[in-house]
């Protein structure tokens, strides 16, 4: 069929089954927006900042498992999108971002709104394309979606010069993809899997170390089954919250810098790590030379480069978690004796009793952890929870009772403040039946607050709970612990009127200072079905605990404000 490049972009999106595009128009992408205007196969959400468009597409992808799509113009439109690309890249989120570019003839002339998008985005995308010929466009779109969702997923940028979108040509969307130089290894090596099974059978203290890859691979149920077949204890990373389910007795909790005592001790004492889609991030391992000193390591990952990058691996298995775990279960099912690990489970049980994940509640002031647990009680599984970055993020990861994969959405790898609200918008578009709550702080929420307008216009009723301590809390916590309480530029006492801001933008705002007010506000926000800010005044100097100081060994945790070290 004869059509222009802009229409080809739209046709490709339709062929890929895209329902929602998040974006912001501008000069170089206008041809495509003209075609968006003419079609009604997918919806376009106009965010009020390109960064928010990309985070929204990212949130959509994390909530649904489908490829998120964002569209921006050249120059500043693209540079605003970079933080969004980098955020998705670090967490391996499948996404296609389409950017306009100046016409081919202007490239390299420092034209108006020209920037080298391919050069800038190279280190923060899985791959990127500059479309130089209209005839390449259908293939490139097809490949972009394929690359984004296959193997280790990631964001892909397609940069399209303006004259390409204006030019007419024949459109045939390819049925299949064949990129000779890109063939991810999906199936795990059978011999290696057998060896891993034997290692598990021989271990005395095996531990499942569950990473975000399990969620990306949609392998949550299988991993639960693997744990249950052998009654093998498990720890989750920040990115894997929800895989095991909060009530699962085998789940010790989250490990790492703000992991709970039992999880970090489990990792320190295990004799066999079964790492599934996890990458031994520095926030997880603490001091590497002290990390899991007694353990052999089984490492399953679809990205071979993750294996052996930081930790020596005894049983490397490159492949998709889902298939490999299926094979592991098959190998173990008839041979494993769950009683073998009962002593080990008992030890961990005692660790949990000794220092449970807890906090000291108060009647005078609202504790941030209380808010999170309260939302967990009231909404539980009905909600998708997003967060920004900082103390509130860690408290949410520690205290919310996550019950399923894709329920918890946060920027783990890049740690992007301003992620939570637009990601919540994307998640709500993808899962309209769920209540979407963004836990945020008085620091983070200001970085993308313009999305109040977006959410109001499109009636996307996400609830932002601002755990307001008048501080850039996590930095303040480090200043308390490691900088002799010199609170350099972290006091945020000068505050906007959050309630008024929300209402000025068409949302609804609440100021909350008591627990009763909080319940009322949350119930009211849900009933009103509008975008909301619930501004909760919380205790100012609350710390995220336990904490492993950066560079310290995982077993050396600061457990409470009173007892300095264990």
């Amino acid at each position: 069929m004869k059509m222009n490049g802009a229409q080809m972009v739209c046709e490709a999106l339709i062929a890929e089954g895209v329902k929602t595009v998040f974006g912001y128009p501008g000069g170089a992408i206008m041809n495509v927006y003209d075609e968006i205007y003419k079609q009604d196969s997918f919806e376009h959400i106009l965010n009020r900042h390109e960064q928010a468009s990309v985070h929204a597409a990212d949130g959509y992808a994390r909530a649904t498992g489908e490829v998120g799509v964002a569209m921006v113009t050249s120059g500043p439109g693209f540079t605003n999108a970079v933080t969004g690309l980098a955020t998705a890249y670090m967490d391996s989120i499948p996404m296609v971002v389409i950017s306009g570019q100046v016409p081919l003839a202007l490239i390299g002339t420092d034209g108006f709104q020209e920037i080298d998008a391919i050069g800038i985005s190279r280190p923060c995308t899985k791959h990127n394309f500059l479309v130089r010929e209209l005839s390449d466009l259908p293939r490139i779109m097809k490949e972009a979606f394929h690359i984004a969702r296959s193997g280790r997923p990631g964001p892909v940028l397609v940069d399209i010069p303006k004259d390409i979108t204006a030019e007419f040509g024949n459109f045939v969307y390819p049925q299949s993809v064949n990129i000779e130089s890109y063939k991810p290894t999906v199936k795990g090596n059978k011999r290696q899997i057998e060896k891993a099974v034997d290692a598990i059978l021989k271990a005395k203290k095996p531990l499942l170390y569950i990473g975000g890859g399990v969620i990306l691979s949609n392998a949550g149920d299988l991993v639960r089954k693997l744990a249950s077949v052998g009654q093998i204890p498990a720890v989750e990373t920040l990115m894997a919250r929800g895989v095991m389910g909060a009530k699962n007795p085998l789940l010790q909790g989250m490990l790492g810098m703000h992991g709970n005592y039992a999880s970090n001790m489990a990792m320190s004492e295990t004799d066999l790590i079964i790492a599934l889609g996890a990458r031994f991030d520095d926030r997880v391992t603490g001091k590497l030379s002290e990390f899991a000193r007694y353990a052999d390591v089984i490492h399953v990952d679809i990205d071979a480069a993750n294996i052996g990058k930081l930790v020596d691996v005894d049983y490397p298995i490159v492949g998709d978690i889902k298939g490999v775990v299926e094979q592991l279960i098959l190998g173990l099912e008839s041979r494993i004796n769950p009683d073998r690990y009962s002593d080990w489970r008992e030890v961990l049980h005692r660790y949990n009793d000794l220092y449970p994940q807890s906090f000291e509640d108060s009647d005078e002031v609202i504790k941030p952890q209380w808010v999170i647990e309260r939302v967990g009680e009231l909404l539980g599984d009905r909600a998708i929870i997003t967060s920004d970055v900082g103390q509130h993020q860690m408290w949410t990861a520690q205290h919310y009772p996550f019950d399923r994969p894709r329920q918890w959405i946060n920027s783990g790898g890049l740690g992007t403040m301003g992620f939570g609200f637009p990601a919540a918008i994307g998640a709500k578009k993808g899962c309209p039946d769920k209540i979407v709550v963004n836990f945020t702080g008085d620091g983070s929420i200001l970085m993308n607050m313009q999305e109040l307008v977006t959410a109001s216009e499109y009636k996307i009723p996400v609830i932002n709970i601002i755990l307001n301590n008048n501080f850039l809390g996590m930095v303040r916590q480090w200043q308390t612990f490691f900088y002799d309480e010199r609170y350099s530029e972290t006091d945020l006492s000068y505050q906007p009127n959050y309630k008024a801001v929300a209402e000025a933008c068409g949302g609804i705002g609440y100021d909350v200072t008591t627990k009763e007010e909080f319940d009322t506000a949350l119930n009211d926000a849900i009933a009103k079905d509008r975008v909301a800010f619930i501004n909760v005044a919380v205790s100012r100097f609350e710390n995220v605990l336990p904490m492993v100081p950066a560079g310290g060994a995982l077993y050396n945790m600061i457990l409470s404000d009173k007892s300095e070290e264990k």
Binding site: I118, R122, P123, L130, S181, A305, G308, K309
Partner: protein, 156 residues
């Protein structure tokens, strides 16, 4: 872990941004590049990039794996069994002994490639270590300029 020198040969799709993808990966991840050569492979849409790098075992393994992840990379050959050659051209003043310079170049698989009114240009293609020795030896003849190419390598 001890540092080792390694020659890595990368077969890539011949597209405009592929060299920046490869060199950017080295720069971004802090890997070392000692030499880099690139040229298209005849009668194909592929190029070969040859990189000499240095690092401990873990780094060298990461380099190979990270290169593999680049979409336009077909193949990464990282071998200790490579035949390596490198070339160098040296410009000498005309006052130096043409015969001596010729003899020196010939000793290293090379020769004189150009002589004009005020200079002599010698060229040598040999193993990287021998090229180094040649450059040292050439100092006796007051070289005006030395231009060294990168390593090219082929599997044995």
């Amino acid at each position: 872990m001890a540092e080792a020198r390694r020659v890595i040969s990368i077969l890539v799709e011949n597209e405009s941004s592929v060299l920046s993808r490869v060199s950017g990966l080295f720069a971004g991840r802090g890997y070392n590049i000692e030499t880099l050569t690139v040229a298209p492979i005849p009668n194909s849409n592929r190029s070969r990039i040859t990189i000499v790098t240095k690092g401990n075992e873990r780094i060298l393994e990461q380099i190979t794996k990270q290169l593999h992840k680049l979409i336009p990379v077909y193949k990464v050959v990282e071998h200790e069994e490579m035949v390596e050659k490198e070339m160098v051209m040296v410009k000498f003043p005309i006052e130096e002994s043409l015969a001596d310079i010729q003899a020196l170049c010939e000793a290293y698989n090379g020769g004189i490639v150009n002589v004009d009114i005020d200079m002599i240009i010698g060229m040598v293609a040999d193993e990287p270590n021998r090229v180094k020795h040649f450059i040292e030896a050439s100092r006796r003849y007051n070289p005006l300029e030395t231009v060294r190419g990168g390593v090219v390598a082929i599997e044995r």
